[in-house]
Subunit: 164 residues, 2 copies
């Protein structure tokens, strides 16, 4: 294969993450252009959480290998290429165990992508909030960074700590 | 290598999971001889849960590939080789977000191993409950199967469903 062909093939591979299996472009968040990463459901656990009313959710954050490696070393900021995905479900009473809340219907999938150049204006992070695989509107996405900046700027804008 | 040598080498590999990195035998649960599996923290998410008082815990179940494959197909019983690990932490108030509970100190790691012959008397499951890496006593282990049998026998004795 000539060099030009190899570069073209490489470009296809790089761009593949932007397309769904059906060849359509993946739905991307407004402002940031963040998409739901392939294979995230196989990523390693960072931590679970519970949200009281009004959300009433159980949540779990998963991280790609770059994220997990950064958590393990404890060094901040997270490097470019870090991706965190938060899955959320309405919590429901376990029918088998009185004292337990378990996941009900899935609600949102939320994504943070670190790219210090592309997202320099928002602490190096791009945000995506998805319901049924589709990004929510621009107004909701405008709230992401403001809240992360106000509350957890000192932890490189990341709420979730690696569970021991 | 002669056949005898190959068999011997294979036996070493099979037994390796019973030893910790320092060469000491891994702590095994009473009754069942279940140990904490290597690398479980990298396993795929099955689901989170919350336990109200008196436990006040956040929990997350992870599964090995055999477990996840079985969950995805939805066929019961789980095949031999299935391993489920439940991590648990005291839940604490998030210092950064009023409405959130997040993991505090780790409490127990609980393991279920499917071996339909070895554990035929307990539905094919062996159980292990560990605190700080050490198994709890035999009396506590006697309670595992009775509860699983009473409440979730129809789901092959497994409480946790795969979160959507």
């Amino acid at each position: 294969m000539p060099v030009g062909g190899a570069l073209f093939a490489a470009a296809i591979v790089v761009a593949a993450g932007a397309f769904a299996q059906n060849g359509e472009p993946k739905p991307a968040s407004p402002i940031y252009g963040v998409t739901i990463p392939d294979g995230y459901r196989q990523w390693e656990l960072v931590a679970p959480a519970l949200e009281h009313a009004p959300l009433d959710e159980l949540r779990t954050v998963l991280g790609n290998q770059t994220a997990i490696d950064a958590y393990r070393t404890g060094s901040l900021p997270f490097p470019d290429g870090t991706v965190l995905v938060k899955l959320a479900w309405k919590h429901v009473q376990s029918p088998e165990f009185e004292s337990a809340l378990v996941p009900g219907a899935a609600t949102t999938v939320q994504v943070m992508v670190k790219d210090s150049k592309k997202y320099a204006a928002t602490g190096g992070w791009g945000f995506g909030r998805f319901i049924d695989g589709k990004p929510v509107d621009e107004a909701q996405h405008r709230t992401c960074f403001a809240c992360h900046e106000a509350r957890v700027k000192a932890r490189d804008y990341v709420f979730t700590k690696l569970a021991p």
